[in-house]
C-alpha cells in the first residue's frame, strides 16, 4: 500500500512539473509586442535576449525529460540513474530561472550605473507575459526539488521503512 501511494505521488509530482515547464516555454514563446513611438517602431521578442532563449531551451529540455520519465516502468533498473538525472535537471532549471530573472530585472529597473534604461515602460504586456513565464519556471523548480528528495527516498530507502 505504501508503495502504490509512493509511486502515485511521484507520478503526480512529475506530471505537474511537466505542465509547469511546458507552460513556461509556451508563455515565453508567445510573448511578442510591438510598440510605436512616433515613427519608431520597437518590436520586443523573447529572442532578443540571450538569457530568455536559454530559459526556453532549458525548460523545453526539462518538459521532454519529465514526459519521458512518466512512462518509465516501475521495475526498471534506470531508476537509480533517474536520481542523478533529476539533480542535473534541477541544476538546469535553477540556472535558467536565475539568469532570466537577472536580465528581466535589468529590463524592469534598468541599471543607472551602466546607463541602461528600463524597457518595461514601453512594452508592458511583454513584461507581464515574461513575468508569468518566470513564475511558471519557479513552480517547476520547486516541484523538481521535491521530486529530487522523493527520488532518493524511493530508490535508497534511507529511513528503512521497507521490510526486506
Amino acid at each position: 500500500m505504501v508503495k502504490l501511494t509512493q509511486r502515485l505521488g511521484g507520478l503526480v509530482l512529475r506530471f505537474a512539473a511537466f505542465c509547469a515547464a511546458l507552460g513556461a516555454v509556451i508563455a515565453m514563446i508567445t510573448s511578442r509586442e510591438r510598440s510605436s513611438f512616433f515613427v519608431l517602431s520597437l518590436v520586443a521578442r523573447y529572442s532578443d535576449l540571450a538569457a530568455f532563449k536559454y530559459f526556453v531551451i532549458a525548460n523545453a529540455i526539462v518538459s521532454v525529460y519529465s514526459f519521458l520519465v512518466l512512462f518509465l516502468p516501475k521495475e526498471s533498473l534506470l531508476w537509480k540513474f533517474v536520481v542523478v538525472l533529476d539533480l542535473m535537471v534541477t541544476m538546469l532549471l535553477t540556472s535558467s530561472l536565475s539568469a532570466a530573472v537577472a536580465v528581466a530585472q535589468v529590463g524592469k529597473r534598468g541599471n543607472a550605473n551602466a546607463g541602461w534604461l528600463p524597457i518595461c515602460g514601453q512594452v508592458p504586456r511583454f513584461c507581464d507575459q515574461i513575468t508569468g513565464a518566470l513564475i511558471a519556471g519557479l513552480v517547476a523548480l520547486i516541484l523538481y526539488v521535491f521530486l529530487l528528495i522523493f527520488s532518493i527516498h524511493s530508490v535508497v530507502d534511507p529511513f528503512l521503512l521497507r521490510k526486506s
Partner: protein, 185 residues
C-alpha cells in the same frame, strides 16, 4: 549489518579519499571566485564633452555592487565554500561515525542543494556579464567592456572559477548519493 564489507579500516566508507579531494578543490574554486569578484573594481576618467578647447572629464567607477546578479554571485560562492569547509571538517573529525543515523542522507541533500545554488549564481552572473560584454541593440543597452577592460577580465576569471565549482559540486553530489547506495546494500 549492511555496508560492513565496504568499510575501510578506521570506519570510513570506500570513496572517502575521492570525496575529500573533490571537496578541497570545490572549496578552493568557490573561495577564489568569491574573493576575485568581491575585489572587482575599476575607476576611469573619461572626457564626456568639450567646450571650446576645455575637455570636461568625469570619473566613473565600475563596482561589482552595481549589478545585483554579481552580489548574489559573491554571497552564493561564500555560502558554498563555507559548506565545503564544514563538510571537510566533518570528514576529518567524524571519520568513524560515517554511517550512523541520518548523516549520509543529510550530507547528500545538503550537497544537492548547494550544487543548485552555485549553478544558479554562476549562470546569472554569466548572462549579466554577456550583457555587459556585448550590449543589446534591441533594448539600446551599450556594452561596458570596451571601456572597463580590467573589470571585465577579473569578472571573467571569477566566472571561470565558479563554473569549475559547479562541475565539482555536481560530482560531489553524485559521489554522496552513491555513498548512500553503497551503505544501504
Amino acid at each position: 549489518m549492511p555496508g560492513e564489507k565496504i568499510l575501510l579500516a578506521g570506519g570510513a566508507i570506500k570513496s572517502w579519499k575521492l570525496l575529500f579531494g573533490l571537496r578541497i578543490f570545490a572549496f578552493m574554486a568557490t573561495l577564489v571566485a568569491a574573493i576575485v569578484m568581491s575585489l572587482n573594481r575599476e575607476t576611469k576618467t573619461f572626457v564626456v564633452a568639450t567646450i571650446g578647447t576645455i575637455p570636461i572629464k568625469a570619473t566613473l567607477t565600475a563596482k561589482f555592487q552595481h549589478t545585483p546578479a554579481f552580489v548574489f554571485f559573491v554571497i552564493a560562492n561564500v555560502m558554498v565554500s563555507f559548506h565545503n569547509l564544514l563538510m571537510i571538517a566533518l570528514q576529518i573529525f567524524g571519520r568513524k561515525l560515517e554511517n550512523k543515523g541520518f548523516r549520509l542522507l543529510s550530507v547528500a541533500i545538503l550537497d544537492m542543494l548547494n550544487a543548485t545554488l552555485i549553478s544558479a549564481a554562476a549562470n546569472a552572473a554569466a548572462f549579466m556579464a554577456e550583457l555587459g560584454k556585448n550590449g543589446n541593440k534591441h533594448a539600446k543597452w551599450n556594452k561596458i567592456c570596451d571601456r572597463f577592460a580590467i573589470y571585465c577580465d577579473h569578472g571573467a576569471g571569477a566566472l571561470i572559477a565558479a563554473f569549475a565549482g559547479v562541475i565539482l559540486m555536481l560530482l560531489i553530489s553524485a559521489v554522496s548519493i552513491s555513498r548512500i547506495l553503497l551503505n544501504s546494500k
